[in-house]
């Protein structure tokens, strides 16, 4: 059983500390929702774990199956089982989805091993059908000119193809209409069953997503730390009472 352990993690951008001592363990098959006000460091956490060069880890560790990923390059982290679904996916003109995904799948094969193109396309089309993505999209450039919702669906498509052990999903629900939200959630839920179900860090602002992808745990990130954890009812409580409620509740502790 895979797991991601985040231990006393401190992350800075330049010399500005953003994440300040965060602990979290994500087991395979479990969904951890991360909520919290804008600018509290949710994306920073996800991108730093994926190895984005802008973020410096000043303290602590991130371990996948007991092995620290911090010395690994982003591509190595991905091949060892991490996946980041971006809040703002990059547009890459001229590079088709089919080619980039193919390169990603090929990179996971042993040296000298050739990709089985027929099997690859069969799987790709099946996943696309599941996510109701038109097959014409394979020849389109990655995220180039995609609508917000199309970008998010394309992120989930890549996750479905790459079958990570741990997926970091950063506001995958933003920009999705009601139907697309359901399709994406179904796509994620389809990956949640079975022995190779990924552990998921699901960053979101909205209960709406959590109605479809029901979390096992909910954490509130505030000022670079997890200040409260609970089950799915915590999200409902936040939805009802807002972050001010939490602020008051935490006032003595954070003073």
């Amino acid at each position: 059983m895979s797991q991601l352990e985040i231990k006393d993690l401190h992350i800075s951008i330049g010399d500005k500390p953003i994440v300040r001592g965060l602990n979290l363990t994500i087991q395979q098959g479990k969904v951890h929702a991360i909520m919290g006000p804008n600018g509290t460091g949710k994306s920073t956490l996800a991108k730093a774990i994926a190895g984005h060069p802008d973020y410096t880890i000043t303290e602590g560790d991130v371990r996948l199956d007991g092995k620290s990923v911090l010395a690994m390059q982003p591509d190595e982290r991905a091949r060892s089982g991490l996946f980041l679904a971006f809040q703002y996916p990059s547009e890459i003109p001229g590079v088709s989805i089919a080619n980039s995904l193919r390169a990603a799948v090929q990179a996971r094969l042993a040296e000298g091993e050739e990709l089985d193109a027929t099997a690859y396309y069969k799987k790709l089309y099946a996943k696309m059908d599941l996510l109701k993505i038109d097959r014409k999209f394979t020849s389109r450039a990655v995220n180039d000119g995609f609508s917000g919702g199309e970008k998010k669906r394309c992120e989930i498509l890549q996750m479905a193809m790459l079958e990570p052990k741990i997926a970091l999903m950063d506001e995958t629900d933003s920009g999705l209409d009601i139907d697309a939200l359901r399709i994406v959630a179904d796509g994620v839920n389809a990956q949640r069953s079975g022995p190779s179900a990924p552990g998921i860090m699901l960053i979101t602002h909205y209960q709406r997503l959590l109605d479809y992808i029901v979390p096992d745990y909910v954490h509130v990130l505030w000022d670079g730390r997890i200040v409260k954890s609970g089950d799915k009812s915590l999200a409902l409580e936040l939805e009802a009472k807002g972050y001010d409620w939490l602020k008051q509740e935490l006032a003595p502790a954070t003073a």
């Binding site: 390059q73 982003p74 991905a78």
Partner: protein
Amino acid sequence: MSVASSTYLVGSFTPEAFEQSLARCAHLPAWWLDRKRAAYARFAAAPMPQRTNEGWRFSNLSTLTLDGFNLPAPVRFDQLAHRELGVTGAGHLVFANNRLVAAQPLDASTAGAGIIFDTLQNALLQHGDLVKSHLLAQPSKLGSDKFAALHEAFLEDGAFIYVPKGVTATLPVGVFHYASGAGAAVFPHTLVIAGENAKITVADFFRSEKPAEAHFACGGNDLYAGHGASVTYLAMQDWSRATLSFQFNATVARRDARVLSLNLHAGARQARHESFSQLQAPGAHSEMLALTVAHGTQEFDQRTLQIHQAPNTSSNLLYKNALLDQAKTIFSGLIVVDADAQKTDAYQSNRNLMLSDEAEANSLPGLEIQANDVRCTHGATSSRIDREQEFYLESRGIRAAQAQELLVFGFFEEVLGKLEHQELHDRLTEIIREKFRNQ
């Protein structure tokens, strides 16, 4: 002229070497031999490019040597690691060390009636007038008079393609030029003449037989598109990384003609490419495209000239360079619009993708406009690889080198996408891919 200075001016290409080469052409028409003699005299008299010469600005002149080369002995076709064009039924000519070594003639029933696809030598003997009016008929205007004269003097054989009026060649033709043996000097040439409303696609390949051998390659192509004709020309320069290469292009587009030329620059240690398009009659269009992948300490020196000589003509130049390591590129382009070439629409763009801090891209775009009702745009940009794009691909598990390669292809796609033939497109991308793989 003293012996010392003449040796300095001709290097390995001595009068004796010229006589040797000329002797191999003794059976060809006298006018051609006279032209070759005159060309040799021009070559021998012309100075090497000087620092003060604007046409050689930014070029490394100290590495432009004429020494250490030889007129190579013949090689057999089976000594070459030749790869077919990959288009079923397409004709090809294979030259190695300036001689024809293999040919797949056109199948008259499928290729299009009356198309002539033969060697230049045969064309000189059988279609002398056609050759005379088009072979190296345009002036050298971009700085390499000396090397262009050298090319003419030593040109022994090449490809001749003539498509008669109203005929569409259904398949592309491939011309392969190989150099083999240390110091081999080769002088490839491809002459394309498309008659009224004719249509053809020609692919030229330049390759060294062994990747480590140093060659001297001094080649040219003439593309002539008659009234309403359409010529697509693709050149894939993949000489060894020790080669000194020159390529001269002259394109003539007549009324409503359309020429697309795409040059891939992958090989050579130093490669100079001069491309000269003349839009001679209303409706003429020239599409000038180039892709360069510059690795190591390679230098790619590209000089272009688009001359609009008639009203309502258009030209579109897009040269894209990807630079890695300590590589260097130079782009110098000039658009000239003659006084009566009103309604000219000319575009010129040089884009450089810098994949290394140590690489150097130089751009010298230029305009010379005498007409008053024209649309001319030109520009040059240099950009780095987008770090967010790179991270995005790497976060999918793609290794850094592969991610860069994908981004280079993404950058090139704007040009690659203009090539309609799938097989040629694939061949082109494969050469680029191979280049990345062999780094």
